[in-house]
């Protein structure tokens, strides 16, 4: 019961913070040069005054800024994120349509990088100063240092063009009309390249962090205690060292998870993944403010949500935190 109350408190606080963030973002975006109406008009290839006037009036751009802000904020309070200027659809619809794709991609990459990173990091920690451990670390460093988009381009060329193993772009085979399991497999196949690309960088970070954290934990007294019990090394690594090394990894994982909405712009662009990151980039280019603000809002909400979840997971991972002081 206590938790329920505390979590409710946190959520309430989060709502306040979110509204402040909305205002912050609103001001930030207004600083960008460019008038959405002019850009829409520009896209049309021809304009006259009448056209611009209609657009501005329609989107309320003719109002003073504070009125626009007030309208926006009070709209959001009713969960109305307004209308996308360019796409002529409610922002919420657009975001909800794109959100699943992004969450699928970043979520997969998240799980993948976390899992592989921890496994590789543990192996490297157990094999510290041995060649196999060094090779893992060298690879991790390499993944960390390679520009993401470069990996993306190269993997497309290799796996889709030369080897023709995997689809190069998109989320499913258009026109194949797959349903059920076939669709799942199809999407899975499309997911491999972008998710792996995206996962590599974070995997590298998790690997390094797990290793460092485990080496740190392995210096601690209780490890000696465990050895004095006659426990096998593998058990000590897993049960004692790894578990105690998890906290910094959870912190980072929380940060990565929070970036799931907007963290995949490059990958989504290169792999034509119909996600939010791409939508955001396009919205920015088009000065589609409502849409951009909506995406920022969702992103911020997710960050805050994951901060709370991270704290909850902390509590699970470390009883000391849960029961306090």
């Amino acid at each position: 019961m206590l938790y329920v109350r505390l979590i409710t408190m946190r959520l309430l606080k989060a709502v306040v913070v979110l509204f402040m963030i909305i205002i912050f973002n609103f001001v930030l975006i207004q600083l960008a040069p460019g008038d959405p109406a002019a850009i829409l008009a520009g896209e049309a290839g021809a304009t006259d005054e009448e056209f611009l006037r209609q657009l501005r009036e329609r989107f309320g751009l003719d109002q003073p800024l504070y009125v626009q802000l007030w309208r926006y904020v009070s709209g959001v309070a009713m969960l109305d994120f307004g209308f996308s200027y360019r796409q002529q659809m409610p922002v919420l619809d657009l975001i909800l349509a794109r959100l699943p794709a992004t969450l699928l991609l970043t979520g997969t990459a998240f799980v993948l990088s976390l899992f592989l990173g921890i496994v590789a990091g543990s192996l490297a920690a157990a094999r510290v100063k041995k060649p196999s451990g060094s090779i893992i670390m060298a690879l991790a460093l390499l993944f960390y240092a390679t520009p993401l988009f470069w990996v993306a381009l190269m993997s497309v060329v290799l796996f889709s063009v030369y080897l023709d193993l995997l689809p190069a772009y998109g989320m499913y085979t258009v026109g194949a009309g797959h349903t059920g399991l076939a669709l799942v497999l199809d999407v899975g196949k499309h997911l491999i390249l972008p998710a792996t690309t995206l996962a590599l960088f974070f995997m590298a970070i998790y690997t390094r962090m797990t290793r460092a954290s485990m080496l740190d934990a392995s210096q601690q007294d209780f490890v000696k205690t465990a050895r004095a019990k006659g426990l096998k090394n593998s058990v000590i690594q897993r049960r004692h060292i790894l578990r105690n090394a998890l906290l910094p990894i959870i912190t980072l994982a929380g940060l990565q998870a929070g970036q799931m909405v907007g963290g995949a712009i490059l990958t989504e662009t290169v792999f034509a993944w119909p996600g939010i990151g791409r939508l955001m980039f396009e919205a920015l280019q088009q000065r589609d403010y409502n849409l951009l603000l909506g995406i920022f809002f969702f992103s911020a909400a997710l960050v805050i949500l994951f901060n709370i979840i991270t704290d909850l997971v902390y509590g699970l991972a470390d009883p000391r935190i849960k029961e306090g002081s």
Partner: protein, 541 residues
Amino acid sequence: MTDSQATPLLSLRNVSIALPKGADRALAVEDVSYDVFRGEILCVVGESGSGKSMAANAVMGLLPKGVYTSGGEAIFDGQDLLQLSEKQHRTLRGLRIGMIFQEPMTALNPLMRVGAQIAEVFEAHGQFNGRERQQKALALLTEVGIPDPDKAIRAYPFQLSGGQRQRVMIAMALALEPELLIADEPTTALDVTTQAQILELIRDLQQRRGMAVMFITHDFGVVAEIANRVCVMRYGQIVELGEAEAVLKHPSHDYTRALIEAIPSDVIPEARGAETDTPLLEVVGLNKVFRSKGGLFKPAREVHALQDVSFSLVKGETIGIVGESGSGKSTLGRCVVRLERPDSGTLSLSGTDFMHLQGEALRRERHRVQMIFQDPYASLNPRHRVGYAIAQGPIANGTSKGQAMAKAKELLALVGLDGTDDRYPHEFSGGQRQRIGIARALAMQPELIVADEAVSALDVSIQAQILELLEELKQKLSLSLLFITHDLRVAAQICDHIVVMQHGRIVEQGPAREVFLAPREAYTRELLDAIPGREHELADA
């Protein structure tokens, strides 16, 4: 008890242990031989760094990275432990040789329930099934005397007190009824009362099970309490080995003698009177409550660290504050130097209000009360040369840099560290660092010095030197001292007046001799009884 004809359970023969390059010395342990027989307690004593732990770790096969045995053998029941593979060693650990470590706070895995950690010992050696293991764990916890074992078995280490954790460690080490128990300073980190209980427990178990125990300590009080035989080590070598009685009463080696003498030998302080009776510090009705803000999981919490504390200190006097851990001693000291702000009460220095000073005004008055910190290393900024560290205070108070530095040199000379002003803290030994801390406090020309466990972190011999120095300086500079300690022997040695604290309250105060000889409160008596080796010393005296 010991039977010299019997074959020893463990026999170290000319064991040498090499340290990596760049360590203090080449060999941590040099050509060491000793035996441990079934049914006896062998105490290995010696000051910090003498190689006590290394020898024990070699027996367990748990030498730290880079440290290796360079010669000798350790015969345990016919096999040489130093030649065993990691795998063979593993089958012995926990099963036939158990070990307890010094730090009860960190020796347990903080994320595992206590029961699971004990059950792990059975698991490691493939004994019993899951449920039986839990039952065994419960039985063990009961045996080591943990209150409420049903609950304790499901607890996490942080939910237990230091003494309870040490009992869990012992339960773990005893789980499979090993023939040999190695205890590496298992009581050093505990307060006196708890320490006494744990010693009692170990001796009791040893007798009931007829185990051999190798007990490592640097405290001769502990030796007097439990040892059958004693092995004294210094710089990695054995300087003396023999029956406990013999070694304690007739130490043959100078070093042993020095160690025994360095123990504040008399728990009955001499009667001392204050030189004047001008009150310097007056504390009336001081209260301090710590409130921790609740987090997502933490409920908000209040600790009454000080409750209605009143006492006064006369110029030139030394008051000792004693009490168990958490009783509020440090909080009191910190309030007096205004590192902490009391909630209510009065605090006056020679009649002027010292409690309500703030900001700049407080900063200007601070030089009147100084502090010597417990950990001499932690209290020196590792990036400042010690001369500058001492001069900082006067500089902050307006002395010119040149003058301050000159003064710092003088003070270093005064505490016996001539010409060391341009060295860094890490280039000193623990005792020397504490001297620097004292010099720093003196640089401010304070009227009162608060020493919070100022000698607790030091070896006995060094402890004695520092106490002597303090005594000397006090006389020379007519200082007053508020001496906070949990070691009653130390308090007895230098204090004129004793204040006993428990749960944030003063339970008893009075002249030192009175408090020690005729304690009025049960709590005080308990504290005094718990001093290890007390009977022995008293008997000797």
